[in-house]
Assembly symmetry: C2
Homo-oligomer: 342 residues x 2
Amino acid sequence: MKRVTIVDVARSAGVSPAAVSLALNKPSRLSPETVERVRETARVLGYVPNPHALALVQKRAGAVGVLVPQTISETFANPYFAEFLRGVGAGCEEKGLSLQLVPPREGSVEKAVSIAPVDGFLVVGLSEEHPGAKPLSRRGVPFVVVDGDAEKAPSVNCDDEGGAYAAARFLARRHRKILVLGFPRSSGGRERFVWGVEKRRLRGYRRALEEYGITWTADSVTASAVSPEGGEEAFARAFDRLSRAGRRPTAVLAASDATAFGVLRAAGRMGLRIPEDLEVIGFDDVPFAAFCNPPLTTVRQPIEEKGRVAAELLLGLLEEEDRPVAEARLLPARLVLRGTTV
Amino acid sequence: MKRVTIVDVARSAGVSPAAVSLALNKPSRLSPETVERVRETARVLGYVPNPHALALVQKRAGAVGVLVPQTISETFANPYFAEFLRGVGAGCEEKGLSLQLVPPREGSVEKAVSIAPVDGFLVVGLSEEHPGAKPLSRRGVPFVVVDGDAEKAPSVNCDDEGGAYAAARFLARRHRKILVLGFPRSSGGRERFVWGVEKRRLRGYRRALEEYGITWTADSVTASAVSPEGGEEAFARAFDRLSRAGRRPTAVLAASDATAFGVLRAAGRMGLRIPEDLEVIGFDDVPFAAFCNPPLTTVRQPIEEKGRVAAELLLGLLEEEDRPVAEARLLPARLVLRGTTV
DNA sequence: GGTTGTCAGTAAAACGTTTTAACGGAGGAG
DNA sequence: CTCCTCCGTTAAAACGTTTTACTGACAACC
């Protein structure tokens, strides 16, 4: 049951451990017959090098970490994330890197960061100023910020504000009572999304609405978990409350497709016809936005490309130590009209 | 730019490296004032322990690997996988474990297995007899087989054959020309899915169809990539070919929801009405099956639960070395009728 | 006063590799 | 015959931790 190590192979083949290492990694520096003998011995014994020892000595683990601010379960509730990972995977695979998903450990992002045996991080949905970001630089591994706001670190984002503005404008022309669904609040005590993606999207919504004379107040935006269930529940509750107050909304701006799907479900359950009784616009254009019933009007961003770009940026950082500048990539976002708007 | 190590802290605090380690991990074995001084020094210097060294000495990396037989990108093209990971994540998080996605490295599953710095593997979609499975036992880390077939190793599956049988029976009562869509063939040269999940689902389809007198031949099943795009393309091509031959299908059995989504799209493009002109049944019941247009009739399996069960099995293996028996968990699968069947 | 015990802290081994520098022997050049 | 070079191989250092066993020092006990 004990693992076979390099010294076992060495002993069995009658050579030194160094010779085994060379035979396996730099065969040209050994006589062909020795190489052959050592390799055969290793094969017979079933030798597999210990990855931890390897990582320690070569200072690389062959994996990049994807740091997410929520649990894995919450994270994948949003199909956006799977699509994003497809891009990351595509970017990493050519270099033979694995992907490690790193959720907070016992609620602490810092702890998770320090423990994860990875060569670099893709930080998604976190601000550079976030307390969890500090250990990152201490860890001494490079990182790229995605869907956050970074000044000094390289980052990848889409034009959240512009996309949101277009969506809101499209609705504000014909509606006065627009329900805006945002991201969750104070999950874990800290207001996680007051900056970053949400801040920008809300800013876009607000700008458009105000241009059309719709006043924006503190409670203009309704918090919602980023999942169909979250959207369903948040919409149902808010719609009910507003209807009672005589301000029944006729359109919805959802800050995420995942949320919008929930809105559609809730609306269906309540007997609202879409888009006649209620227009809905999501954000992201995840693959299934085009498939749902009716097909979702949404703001399209190149999710998969975003992942690939982020991975490429990080790989660049991994190879050249001394990349000085903080490159900030901005990807486009544009409104695509489908069946949930007239 | 150099990382601060434990000896830096030790030197700076005027103690031995051992004392630093104790101060951080077993503070009770040191005087309170020393502990405080060391911790303060560590904080000021920004010390973060090296995860590789930690993993080497404690023989645990704090991560479990999810071994997939395709690229990350291909894997996440099937929404099934994200849902599965939600369960795995839920199972792992309470123990504070990260998740590492391990795709084949340079086409070799073996290489990927030996390099990944993880404490155990969830092997999805691979047979125990698969060449890639051998290095697993050599690695000396425990593993659980999911969606494969294992005799000696612990495994988790759903009742693929039973679910498929139910679906096929439901159609065979009213249809004679049923198109069966399977998994991709010979990707990478080896016929990856002739066993395991596909074998069982096809067996279920076949049994039902033959009971209704529909003959099953070598070309009864059409290969399809497990993604909407794959399903779209495979269906369009097969439908065309069969129509020309005067055997235009009136129903489709898709071995996966992801494929079925593609069928719906292709059918829509071709002007086929669903379910009037074509009935479709998928498999898995991914979250969006209920949302698509029309809602997909499919075979439901408890995907998220499957992930959780697999994680729990693996965690058990990680804790108790000497768990002898190969537990094989079988989860239920049942047909749920929605809008793509009459 | 010797034995025993506890306490705070340390030296050194261990984990399993890679890599650097050195070594001995053989062969060739002078 | 000596010196130099080359070749195949090895000893030992390095990576950064944790852990085990040990060392003094000091107090307590009989």
